[in-house]
């Protein structure tokens, strides 16, 4: 469970999100939606403890994240950011093994349990056949899944994913989102940012809309599927909602 109390996010005098209260229950999927530069990634970094908020408090499972040390945070939450480099020479298995870091000793030696977990998560995301492939030989979709496997190897309650479906073709994006949905059903709390409106509404329990000027709207996916709300926050008049479906006027 992730909770915020009157959290404000921004840089200096520029406030992107102002005094936001959130409650993201365990096993839920929350999608952050907004135009570029409206604060989606910044809020995600604040929720993940990688960036200080301007004000307010974030807690995980009822405990203020300021009270977690670095290692404890890495045991509670795993993150996927889009600027992760494909380390040349690393195989999928080696990448996923990085996720076991908090379970290994000083020198990072893996034991039988770690190897079993690595196999299990690679299987979960559906890339067992790619286990020994080098990262540089993977397609974007396969690489994202390998990254997700690394996150799962961390064995955390919370997953933060910053635009995980960017650059993926539709089948790969659907595939990826299906894996996330299954993970939420297993009790993982998932927070993701995306520009993929239709996918977000299909998979998320909660939607957080950003306007980039401090205003944000939060609610369950059903109540957030609202023409005025979406058009207002995304500054467009080309989105329509009919019978609970999203339509785009082009």
């Amino acid at each position: 469970m992730i909770q915020t109390e009157r959290i404000s996010v921004g840089y200096g005098s520029r406030v992107l999100v102002r005094e936001l209260d959130l409650l993201l229950p365990k096993g839920s999927v929350t999608a952050f939606i907004g135009s570029n530069g409206t604060g989606k990634s910044s809020l995600m970094r604040v929720l993940n403890g990688l960036q200080e908020p301007l004000s307010g408090k974030v807690s995980w499972n009822g405990k203020d994240i300021a009270d977690f040390d670095r290692k404890e945070k890495a045991k509670m939450a795993a993150s996927l950011y889009s600027n992760f480099s494909r380390v040349e020479g690393f195989t999928v298995a080696e990448l996923v093994a990085l996720g076991r870091s908090n379970f290994t000793g000083f020198f990072g030696k893996l034991n039988a349990e770690d190897y079993a977990k690595i196999d299990e998560v690679i299987e979960t995301v559906g890339i067992a056949s790619l286990k020994e492939k080098e990262l540089t030989t993977l397609s974007d979709g396969e690489f994202r899944k390998a990254m997700l496997a690394k996150l799962l190897a961390q064995d955390t309650d919370i997953l933060f994913l910053d635009e995980p479906t960017t650059h993926l073709d539709l089948p790969a994006a659907l595939d990826f989102v299906q894996v996330l949905k299954n993970l939420a059903l297993q009790g993982k709390t998932i927070v993701m940012s995306t520009h993929h409106l239709a996918l977000a509404f299909k998979m998320a329990d909660h939607i957080l809309l950003f306007d980039g000027n401090g205003k944000a709207a939060f609610g369950n996916a059903k109540e957030m599927m609202n023409h005025e709300l979406l058009c207002g926050f995304l500054k467009t008049d080309k989105i329509r909602v009919e019978n609970g479906n999203l339509l785009f006027d082009l």
């Binding site: 993940n48 990688l50 670095r70 290692k71 404890e72 945070k73 890495a74 045991k75 939450a77 795993a78 993150s79 950011y81 600027n83 992760f84 480099s85 494909r86 380390v87 040349e88 020479g89 690393f90 080696e94 990448l95 990085l98 870091s101 908090n102 290994t104 000083f106 020198f107 990072g108 030696k109 540089t136 961390q154």
Partner: protein, 328 residues
Amino acid sequence: MSKAVKWIICFLILIVLVPASLLLGSVDIPFSAFFGGGDELQNIIIRESRIPRTLAALGGGAGLALGGLFMQTVFRNPLAGPSVLGLTSGSSLAVGVLTLGGGVLVTSQFAVVAAAAIGSIAVLLVILSVAHRFANIASVLIVGLMLGFFTSAMVSLLQASADESSLKAFVFWGFGSFSNIAFTQLPIFLIPLILIFGVSPFFIKPLNHLLPGELHAKTMGVNVKQVQLILVVATGIMVGVITAFCGPIAFIGLAAPHLARILFSTPNHRTVLPAALILGGSLAVLCDLIARLPFSDYAVPLNTVCAFMGAPVVIYLVFKGRKSRILT
């Protein structure tokens, strides 16, 4: 080829090179001399020349390789090396001021060693004092490079106005050599290096997490700033000590980590770190062995040999060394 075989090759190279370094030179020493079978002159050569020289090459090469590996990972730049932070240039400037500045030939070995150490540590302190102002470690790299250019320019100025004998002394120091260390000086040279080698395995995990990027390392619980600072300081100390005693030695720090990545086909520091130490030490012993031109009465500058050996390695990396790159 299995990983075990590759390790055996690494150790075999070392096992062949070390005795060769001890035995070969302008005076050939029989193997039996190491077990009390040598005459007085041979014993003096072994104790005062061959053993310190071989240990200096082993330690110096390994230290430069480790420094190169640290810098390549910290700056996520395959062309980073120990000289990239301007540390060797700082040493050169300090030695240049000592030997060229006053127009007086300084003959004291200790004074040169002290000046080189002070020079590299001074540059390191400048870098550390500005490091916290930058959010991005790449900016620190640029500052280091610029400091290197600046100090090199100052050295050129000093050289232009120096008298012939001072210039000669400075140029000889700049050639680099593992033969400047006396047996009694070995502890001062080796202890800081061995301490850093001993602690380095504790940085295998953070180094691996730095490979995909700083943000990834942070999400894995790594105190990125602290780790970067420790690795930069450790590199500064190693380069300072090595440059102080052996002069500015090029290429080994750049090439050895790449050789380790190529040989073992992985950037994983669990393998690359010990391999770079062994290969760096071996490479330095090999360069030193070639530089002293065994079976002849002549010798060539160490840095000339390092460049002859190192440049093809770097060119090979550009054309073929796909696995050695740490960035996409």
